[in-house]
């Protein structure tokens, strides 16, 4: 493992220097530039990992020794601490806001409200409908009213308490179904989107099969619960602009929205990615960016605004709770005749990405199956509940839970094995989905199903010792009451943004002569949120250019947008941009060799670390070919154009699709309603494994979030009020909750059009794992489960 050690040491040294020599702002981005791994002696250079190999994270060493700077770790001399005042009511008219007492407190430097927003008062990722600060109406529990900057966080907290807000409290609209017809709670109305997908002739008598099953399904509100709470540091610039360091998923979208609200040109808002402690969709929308910038400009001093865990629950969007009615009808042989569904997604108070989430839910509502006819009706609706938006799986998670429950139910009604029913209807390459889109890529549904269920069950033995039983440390479960159940589910979703969105990523690649040979600098604004793009970018650059020293420039707004780290898109989009920029640089190198060596550039290729001609007559180390020269190229990677769905929900709305199957084993104590998930066995369609170790981590981590949604994770909202905004009360899986994860197969069939043939792998593990666990619980107790997370009362009452 000499490679690991060399890179680790290099990173360590560089980072240590930068952090401790106290560049004014210590940010994660500076730390990640610790990938400037230039060994003292060039003879020590080792070959860095290429595509397909286990590559160490360039930010690994600073992350294990504490030197990596997350947003929360940023510190600058003289900075003030920000804090947000939030509404205690889900729906109320603001009668008055009195900030005078707060402003008079010693140590308080600013108290700002909607009156202090110089630019646009509203912002939003897709639709600008959310006030920077509520001024007339509050529409959800926790909506920002004001923000404070003070010289100590405790002073800021007390100042927030000293702000006097008088409310006229209204009864909140908290039922999405009722909100469809309720008086509008926002000038833009209560319906974010109402859509249909009509496939075949669902109204014709011929569409009806001989057996039909129906069900109502419900999914609770899940939180991303990334470990690193939101944080930003603003620094005022002399030209009236601002430098903003923020932990986010998409700095360019942040900048656009922030600048508009500040009334500044986007160029006056310089944004740099601070270290990001996880995201999972929860950092795609604005949270504290604008507030931090306003406080910074208002005080003329650096301001750090960071959320506590409680505030984090209020400060970002969540996974949409949904209610879904389904009816499946089949021919006698099990052929799916018709699927009807009505989906109602609760988007909460503001739009966020509710429209796109609903579109996804609807597009994937039938599951990865052929069906002759379908009629899907979808609503995403505004209520006075917390706003919902992106979370890993993005709409596909909700409908997967329902369509997989329906497939099991249908199989039972038909008297067919549920796996056989799935195989009989499995989508394959060349089929069309219900929006009429030809599935031209890799669609290994049958193989995923077969290999998942064929995999031997892990050795689980009998019901385990007390801590291993349902209820765990509670030590309550009686071994004689425990029933073991098995369940299966498969899910799918799109990769990249859909429905005509201009989705692209930008990368700049430059080769310079370093102290010990050429150094490649990759500049891309892709948000590294833990998924490992930084590792991948290095692997791609090494593979394409045959050079080993790859420096990652901080992700910032000095280069074009990379788009969001979401939708399983960055490997394809930003990986592709890096690949293309490297290829453009490679072309420049070949042209340079043509000039100096008289070789035909068309005949050259890079093989490992040499440039060779196809006829074998010319060969030169890449290092020598680029010595003392500079090359640079910037490339923009766009995927194929997609279209917005038409009135019947038809159109080629998506770029590519990915699939994953899960088999769950659970132990259930039926008397107490307690569940332990014992094992999840999975198969996934990955295209090509670019970094096997990193892929494993994505899959295991995605399954953990799916298991969490199945049995424990829910933001409890009672009449619009959030009841469990803490890690004491919102439970995510611990080591004691996490099942073993068995990877039965990762199918490596290259996806056409994808860089290196690789599909994004981040989201698929989270889609069907929830449904598989629910199926296993049904199997264990022999009764229906129609809601996740499954609560004790759903099992034992």
């Amino acid at each position: 493992m000499s490679t690991t050690e060399t890179i680790a040491t290099g990173t360590d040294t560089t980072t240590g220097t930068e952090t401790t020599t106290g560049t004014e702002t210590t940010t994660g981005t500076e730390t990640t530039t610790g990938t400037e791994t230039t060994p003292a002696d060039s003879s020590e250079r080792t070959r860095g990992p290429r595509i397909g190999e286990n590559a160490p994270r360039p930010d690994g060493v600073p992350k294990v020794n504490g030197e990596f700077a997350f947003g929360n770790d940023m510190w600058i001399e003289g900075m003030l601490f920000g804090r947000t005042l939030r509404s205690p009511h889900p729906y109320a008219r603001i009668i008055s806001i009195d900030i005078s007492k707060a402003l008079a407190m010693h140590g308080v430097h600013a108290v700002i409200t909607a009156d202090d927003v110089p630019g646009q008062k509203l912002y939003g990722l897709e639709h600008k409908d959310q006030p920077v600060f509520a001024s007339e109406v509050v529409r959800f529990h926790g909506e920002p009213i004001a923000a404070v900057a003070a010289d100590h966080p405790e002073t800021a907290r007390r100042a927030c308490r000293a702000i006097e807000v008088e409310y006229d409290v209204h009864a909140p609209i908290v039922d999405a179904e009722l909100s469809i017809t309720a008086p509008p709670i926002h000038p833009d109305g209560n319906i974010f989107r109402h859509m249909f997908i009509r496939h075949g002739h669902p109204d014709s008598p011929e569409s009806e099969g001989v057996v039909a099953v129906e069900g109502d399904y419900e999914i609770g509100m899940q939180d991303q619960a990334f470990l690193g709470p939101e944080c930003a540091l603003g620094i005022p610039l002399e030209d009236g602009g601002i430098e903003l360091y923020v932990s986010t998923q998409w700095i360019h979208a942040d900048r656009e929205q922030t600048a508009a609200c500040l009334g500044l040109d986007p160029e006056q808002v310089r944004m740099t990615m601070a270290g990001v402690g996880g995201a999972f969709g929860g950092r795609e929308d604005i949270s504290l960016q604008i507030h931090t910038a306003l406080l910074t400009l208002h005080t003329g001093r650096p301001v750090k605004l960071q959320y506590s865990r409680e505030e984090s629950f209020f400060g970002h969007v969540h996974r949409h709770p949904a209610k879904m009615w389904y009816r499946h009808s089949a021919r006698a042989d099990g052929t799916l005749a018709k699927i009807e569904a009505r989906l109602v997604f609760d988007g909460g108070a503001y739009a966020s990405t509710s429209s796109a989430v609903l579109s996804n839910a609807s597009c994937f509502a039938h599951g990865p199956y052929n069906v002759e006819h379908a009629l899907i009706e979808g609503y995403s609706v505004r209520t006075n509940n917390p706003s919902c938006g992106a979370m890993r799986g993005f709409g596909a998670v909700q409908t997967c839970f329902a369509h997989e429950a329906q497939m099991d139910k249908l199989a039972a009604a038909l008297g067919i094995d549920s796996i056989d029913l799935r195989l009989k209807n499995a989508l394959k390459t060349g089929d069309r989905n219900i929006t009429g889109q030809l599935l031209s890529g890799v669609v290994p549904v049958a193989e995923l199903i077969e290999r998942c269920v064929a995999h031997p069950l892990p050795a689980m033995g009998e019901v385990g010792e007390m801590m291993g039983r349902p209820g765990g440390a509670g030590r309550t479960a009686d071994a004689h009451h425990i029933k073991r159940g098995f369940g299966f589910a498969i899910g799918w979703k799109n990769l990249m943004f859909s429905e005509g969105f201009d989705d692209y990523s930008t990368a700049r690649v430059r080769i310079d002569e370093g102290q010990n040979g050429p150094v490649v600098t990759v500049h891309c604004a892709c948000a590294e949120v833990g998924q490992g793009f930084v590792t991948l970018a290095q692997q791609i650059a090494r593979t394409v250019l045959g050079l080993d020293e790859i420096l990652l420039h901080p992700a910032d707004t000095q280069v074009g947008s990379a788009g969001s780290t979401s939708a399983s898109r960055q490997t394809w989009m930003s990986g592709g941009a890096v690949q293309q920029a490297c290829e453009a640089v490679r072309t420049q190198i070949f042209a340079s060799l043509a000039a100096t060596h008289g070789v035909d550039p068309e005949t050259l290729a890079i093989q490992d670390d040499h440039i060779v001609s196809v006829d074998g007559t010319f060969s030169i180390p890449v290092e020598d070919a680029v010595a003392n020269k500079t090359f640079e190229a910037t490339e923009v990677n766009r995927h194929v154009q997609t279209v917005r769905l038409d009135a019947d929900g038809q159109g080629d709305a998506h770029v590519s699709f990915a699939f994953a199957a899960h088999r769950a084993v659970v132990d259930v104590d039926e008397e107490l309603g307690l569940v332990r998930v014992i094992d999840i066995t999975t198969t996934q369609d990955v295209g090509k494994l670019l970094n096997p170790r990193q892929a494993l981590g994505q899959i295991e981590g995605g399954i953990a979030q799916g298991v969490g949604l199945a049995v424990m994770e829910e933001i409890i909202v009672t009449n619009g009020k959030v009841r469990n905004a803490s890690f004491t009360d919102y439970l995510i899986p611990t080591t004691l909750d996490m099942p073993t994860v068995t990877i039965a197969a990762l199918i490596e069939e290259p996806e056409p059009g994808a860089p290196f043939g690789a599909k994004g792998i981040g989201e698929p593990p989270t889609i069907a794992s929830t449904a598989a666990v629910a199926a296993a619980i049904r199997n264990a107790i022999g009764r229906d489960i129609t809601r996740v997370p499954v609560r004790p009362q759903d099992i034992c009452l």
Binding site: G66, M467, Q694, T735, M738
Partner: protein
């Protein structure tokens, strides 16, 4: 509110007390001046002493990201008042390695791919060291129980278990543990 005291960088209330004290951290003495007495050890480490390796994911004792060792006991530094830690020996991630390199646990986290976003990592490294100090060869359930107070949202813990196994194997001198 009553008239504030004239101090900088401290909260302002008649009832507040600001204090100066010294903390013994990683073998060194760290003076703290004019600090509000309500500040947690986590806050003082991070915001006053430039030791941000302990993280602040929940500040409620639920996540373990702020783990430090206080007089030999692993604690959540968010639940310890800094002024109450006077006279105690405090060990943080920054002082974990005597020679500035990586400990075997840190190296194993890298080798096993146990690091993603990294926010939980320093706390987990502290916890794993603490576990292995007392339980050199933990059973599956023992290791799960020992680090169940450390939440990780990225990994699903699989590679963290692998990292623990790597350390156990390497410490036992088994050839299988050689990299």
């Amino acid at each position: 509110m009553t008239a504030p005291q004239a101090h900088s960088n401290e909260p302002t209330n008649d009832h507040d007390v600001t204090v100066g004290y010294s903390l013994s951290i990683n073998g060194g003495t760290h003076p703290v001046q004019d600090a509000w007495i309500g500040e947690s050890l986590l806050y003082v480490l991070r915001e006053r002493l430039g030791l941000p390796g302990a993280k602040n994911a929940c500040e409620q004792g639920e996540c373990g990201s702020c783990s430090v060792v206080l007089d030999g006991t692993l604690v959540c530094s968010c639940l310890v008042l800094a002024a109450d830690a006077v006279g105690s020996e405090i060990a943080t991630i920054e002082g974990l390695s005597a020679d500035g390199g990586l400990t075997d646990v840190q190296q194993a986290f890298l080798d096993a791919g146990a690091v993603q976003c990294g926010f939980c990592t320093t706390g987990l490294v502290m916890s794993v060291h603490d576990m292995l100090d007392t339980t050199p060869a933990p059973t599956d359930l023992e290791r799960r129980e020992a680090i169940s107070g450390n939440l990780c949202r990225c990994t699903g813990y699989g590679r963290i278990f692998e990292a623990i196994d790597l350390v156990v194997t390497r410490r036992s001198g088994s050839p299988a543990g050689a990299s």
